[in-house]
Structure formats: structure tokens, C-alpha cells
Amino acid sequence: MPIIVTLDAVLERKGMTLTQLSEAIDLTLANLSILKTGKAKAVRFSTLEAICHVLDCQPGEILAFERD
């Protein structure tokens, strides 16, 4: 898929684990893992907003587009 999820890099930059983020945004670790590994089919705006709020970042820092 040409949409790349770069949540890992942002988490590392902010010094946060996936578990801490899942607790902070009230999303299951399983679902957050699906997002992180790029297996999600779609992302809700509310999820994106919560992640950006907690990580203090822009959506563009979490998602990137790469041509095939």
C-alpha cells in the first residue's frame, strides 16, 4: 500500500511506547498495532486526532504517501 504509517518513528522521537500511547488515547493495543504495522484499512479522524494530541504532532508526521 502506498500509504506508509510512520508511527514508530514519532513514538521513538517522543520517547513513548505503543502501550503508553494506547492507554493515553483509549484504544486497544491490538488495534494500535494494526495501525502501526500498516495493516489497517482506514483510520478514523477521531483516532488520528487523539494520536496527534498525545504525541503533539501533525497527521503528516504519522502518515506518508509513497508511489508504487
Binding site: L27, N31, I34, K39, K41, A42, V43, T47
Partner: protein, 169 residues
Amino acid sequence: MINRDNLVRSSALAVRVAAIANGAFVCALLLGLAASWLMADRLAALLPGDDLAEKVAGLRWMMALGLAMAGGAFVVLRALGGMVATVAAGDPFIAANTDRLHRIGWALLFLQLLDIPGYAIRWSFPALGSAGPDAGLSPGGWIAVLMVFVLARIFAAGTAMRDDLEGVV
């Protein structure tokens, strides 16, 4: 949640009981059909009158009609049992349930159409009198057929929506 669980459990039990009753009904009809040939003498004693042959023939056709009805009921109950099981498992919006609803719809249509041979038996064997099949038109049955086919379409749309939602984070 407890009420919903009870409802699912009660539905599963009701379907099982109905399936057993349907099976018993089939056994009784098969025994009745066999007896109509094997115990013709006793039947003659039970059904007094000059029109014995007509009565026996009418009864045989009625039992054959009953077997066809039991076949339709079997399809309905089997599909319904499968649907109740998916509700109990917590995942009813699956394509298999859409197929099951279609099968129920066709089986109900078949059961409704059995009114026609019912009329034919009543008309062909007047000696049966009030014992003949009650072949009255039932608008409720036809509405049920229509409703099940509409529900199958709704279910198909719901299943597609659920598939879309799967993988949404």
C-alpha cells in the same frame, strides 16, 4: 446483556424443539402412509361409509402434502438454527447468514405454494369433508415471504458495511 443471552438461548432451544417435533411429524406421516397400505382392513373399520377408497386416497395425498411441508419446515429450521448459532457466537453479520435468509425465503415461498395442492386435494376428495386440508388464503404468509427476502437484502448490505468497518482503527 443477560436478557439478550436468554433470548438467544431460548431461540436455540425453540428451534431444536421444533426440529424434533418436525422429525416426529415426518415419522408419523411415514408410518401413516405405510399403514394405509399394510393395514387397509383396519382402516376400513375406522372409516365407515361407501367412499372408503376415496377417503384413503385423499388421506394418502394429505400425508404426502404433509411430508412436503415438513421438508420446507426442515429447511427453515436448519437455516434458522445456523443463524441463531452465529448470534450466540457474537458474529451474525456474515455472508452465510444472507444465504440462510434467502433459503428461508424460498422455503417459505414453497410452503405458501403448497396451498395449491391443498386446494386440489380438498376439491378432488370431497369425501374427506372437514378432515381435508385447510386451504385458506393466508396474506400473512405471503407478507412473511416478502419480508424475509427484503431482510436478506438488508442483511447483505449490513454484511458489506461490516466488512468495510473491519480494519478501521
